[in-house]
Symmetry: C2
DNA sequence: GTATTATTGCAACATTGTTGCTTTAGTGTA
DNA sequence: TACACTAAAGCAACAATGTTGCAATAATAC
């Protein structure tokens, strides 16, 4: 495997995601950066982290990618079979501690899963 | 509810989706049209169909929306709790006849679900 | 046939993400 | 510390998907 370097900007991304209560879009991560960083840089940092299994993402109903640290992820199976929830009101995407039993699919090779539920979150519900 | 009209272009979209073996992106639907149709028109036709429950869509890992007719959908609950599978090789998104049991989420109002599995489909597997 | 207005077309735009190339800076070695 | 190597970051231009406002068209009712 290729060598990697530790950089300030990578650390910032980790810090931001560590303190995040929800998953974050690239746009949100950029805004949370304490210094100015190019968006391409953030895209590539997240890409590297995703390859290493440090981070996972869900594609929201809006087509945007939302990133989260892989803390409690099912890394041993290299999947992230927990549910995500996207709120139609505040748009936030949350990782939920519910695992989904992945069915056996004859002749299909399952590599990843994205389980997304959509509705109104606990904070926005009146 | 507002009045609707029957148009040739709406019928074409229904025909195309009826004969489709997989879900279809707007781009694919446009290409399958027997006559030239504006993309905005297709977006709006699909939007109206989705509201009526004639059609549902999944957002692929690539962020694109993939549409399918609601034939066997769980329309009584206004949800589409079956699994979808996106192939990393041929990119096709397929509706699969597996239902997912949606967990009860205290203080969350679940309106829709999108369950996506990603990997290699039965046609692309060697 | 005429009026009404849902549907379509068009052009301009917004957003998200990608690519190729240059520049910067992290790391190991002398 | 100085230097070489090259991963990481910056930049600009681009691609792809989807959206908006308004004008033109055509389905339906009378
Ligand atoms: Mn998650
Ligand atoms: Mn489906
Ligand atoms: Zn919310
Ligand atoms: Zn395939």
């Amino acid at each position: 495997m290729k060598k990697t370097r530790n950089t300030q900007k990578q650390d910032f991304v980790i810090d931001i995601l560590t303190n995040a209560k929800h998953t974050m879009s690239v746009e949100a991560i950029l805004k949370a950066m304490p210094i100015k960083v190019n968006k391409t840089t953030v895209y590539r940092i997240l890409e590297r982290f995703a390859e290493k299994g440090k981070v996972h993402f869900v594609t929201g109903e809006d087509g945007k990618a939302y990133y989260a640290l892989c803390n409690d992820c099912n890394i041993k199976h290299e999947m992230h079979n927990h549910i995500h929830f996207q709120c139609k009101s505040c748009k936030k995407v949350t990782c939920l501690p519910y695992e989904i039993d992945v069915p056996e699919l004859k002749n299909f090779e399952i590599q990843e899963t994205q389980f997304l539920m959509i509705g109104i979150c606990d904070m926005c519900i009146s």
